[in-house]
């Protein structure tokens, strides 16, 4: 990047509220895209079934009025397109590439008590991404996070102030307990309580079979609890996946950092932080998901992304001179 462009960006970014806005647009686009994908994939699967019925049995269902059919009917081989992507955020299959949630792999190892290498390597990409970028799945991809943030918005509109806090260590305890329970019961516990999997699974069931299972009611109850009782209760205190990503992202390379000299102590960043962290003092800890809400909120531009190692005391604070370099 040339010096001129850099100066232009710095000038644009320094003035609130432009700073970090594009980052939020990108984040929301990605989250909504994931949610749309969770609807599109079962629809494609259903369309494949209808096509198959027509080709094999000759049943002309309502399939030729479907939107998918309008889109793919002129292609040479529609099934190559419609069968190219399958699954959900729990286990996604794009062509031959399979990507699994690391929690699914951990859960599988706990319950099945075997290490199945074909399944193990499917978690490689998320694990590497978490090691480098931190708890980035939570903030940028998780469909539940989008709905929970909507819950936070509703809290703001309705003016609900109740916020019951728990100990953050609870989620690590639940991660360990769930593993033990999985070993004892011989079934995968996290799959039943992990909101991203629940959303993907229930959307699939609803679109394909027209029914939902207990998971949908569990998630709705959770959302109501977040709105009326405790803000971001699940992600902060309970989520086993969040705990796993926190552990993986402890030594992340991409770190939000406070430039101490520019901070005016306005506490705006602490107010917007979805996980209730302390960006104003640089205490992002292992739980920061690099969502950039605090960057957006910071008027003087004291919060910046930095590529570097974890500071020894765990406080990401820089003097201004070093911040200029990054």
């Amino acid at each position: 990047m040339t010096e001129r462009v850099r100066r232009y960006w710095r000038r644009r970014n320094r003035h609130w509220p432009g700073r970090g806005f594009r980052l939020q647009v990108a984040r929301r686009t990605l989250q909504v895209g994931v949610l749309v994908l969770l609807v599109v994939i079962p629809t494609l699967s259903l369309y494949d079934n209808l096509r198959n019925q027509r080709d094999e049995v000759g049943i002309e269902a309502r399939w030729d009025t479907s939107l998918v059919h309008q889109l793919v009917e002129d292609l040479d081989d529609p099934s190559r397109v419609t069968q190219s992507v399958r699954g959900s955020v729990w286990t996604l299959k794009v062509g031959e590439l399979v990507i699994s949630d690391p929690l699914a792999v951990i859960d599988f190892i706990g319950a099945a008590r075997v290490i199945f290498d074909h399944f193990l390597i499917t978690a490689l990409i998320p694990v590497l991404a978490s090691l480098l970028l931190g708890r980035v799945f939570c903030g940028w991809l998780c469909p539940a996070d989008l709905l929970f943030e909507l819950g936070t918005k509703i809290r703001g509109w309705t003016g609900i102030e109740t916020d019951v806090g728990f100990a953050r260590i609870t989620k690590f305890a639940i991660l360990a307990l769930g593993l033990v329970a999985g070993v004892v019961l011989g079934t995968q516990i996290f799959a039943e309580i992990y909101p991203p999997r629940i959303i993907g699974g229930e959307l699939y069931l609803w679109i394909t079979f027209g029914v939902v299972s207990a998971g949908a009611w569990f998630f709705l109850a959770l959302l109501a609890f977040e709105i009326f009782v405790s803000r971001r209760f699940w992600c902060r205190y309970i989520c086993p996946g969040g705990a796993l990503y926190s552990l993986l992202g402890r030594w992340r390379i991409l770190r939000l950092t406070l430039v101490a000299q520019e901070c005016t102590d306005c506490t705006r960043c602490n107010a917007v932080c979805e996980f209730g962290l302390d960006p104003m003092r640089g205490r992002f800890g292992q739980e920061c998901n690099n969502c950039g809400l605090c960057v957006r909120a910071c008027a003087p531009g004291a919060l910046v992304y930095r590529v570097g190692l974890r500071p020894r005391d765990g406080r990401d604070v820089l003097p201004a001179a070093e911040a200029q370099v990054s």
Partner: protein, 234 residues
């Protein structure tokens, strides 16, 4: 009428419409979730997909990704949270208890794939095996001999008390016609009375699907059933 009142009325009507639609939608969703408790004909069992591991191992290994159902071309793989055995009014003597739950609840491995053969049988296309990321469903070659050697979803049993040819009611032969191992797994004698041969039957459940008797004269007993324990020794 004043303009403000008019707006208030329009607002009220719109609110009523929106709330009513939400309520109806919610009620429909709720009813749909209850309907998933469906009734099975007496003596019927839910089956696991072809090539699945033994039941306890399968429950431990299944990661509930629903990929097997997404690739199933006939959509026979379902995720019933519970299936209840129906009360057989005419066959009380067969020992089926009323409203017997025959699919495990969520905390014991619900949300795992089942095939309900009285609704849709498995066409043994073997697409679910390669789709399974955890190997809970083993990939088996789509080959007639390999399938017959490897796949044991269950064993079909004919109830001679209600089967049409066996009761001399009429000719039938539906199960014979649809069986993928016709004249091996199911044979008929000179009176069209079907017989199942255990060494060839893979338990796909197509015969159950086509059986014209309402209470199904043929049933597939899985090797391991949640309610009965070991049904068939391997």
């Amino acid at each position: 009428m004043r303009r403000r009142e008019l707006f208030a009325w329009i607002g009220r009507i719109a609110k009523g419409l929106v709330l009513g639609m939400l309520g109806l939608g919610g009620a429909r969703l709720f009813r749909a979730s209850l309907v998933s408790a469906e009734a099975a004909p007496p003596g019927q069992h839910p089956l696991r997909p072809p090539g699945a591991l033994d039941e306890p191992k399968f429950r431990a290994a299944c990661t509930r990704c629903f990929l097997c159902a997404e690739v199933c071309p006939v959509r026979c793989i379902e995720f019933p949270s519970r299936v209840e055995g129906a009360q057989p009014p005419l066959h009380r003597a067969r020992g089926a208890l009323p409203r017997r739950q025959i699919v495990a609840p969520v905390w014991q491995g619900g949300d795992t794939p089942y095939i309900l053969p009285w609704k849709t049988g498995c066409i043994v296309c073997m697409k679910c095996g390669p789709a399974c990321p955890t190997g809970a469903i083993r990939p088996i070659a789509e080959n007639r001999d390999a399938i017959k050697r490897e796949v044991r979803m269950g064993l079909a049993e004919i109830d001679r008390k209600i089967c049409l040819p066996w009761t001399r009611t009429s000719w039938c032969g539906a199960c014979l016609t649809v069986c993928p191992y016709r004249d091996l797994a199911i044979t008929v004698d000179h009176r069209a009375r079907p017989t199942v041969h255990a060494e060839h039957c893979i338990g796909c459940g197509l015969c159950v699907e086509v059986c014209p008797i309402r209470h199904k004269a043929i049933a597939v007993k899985p090797p391991f059933s949640p309610d009965r324990g070991e049904v068939r020794a391997e």
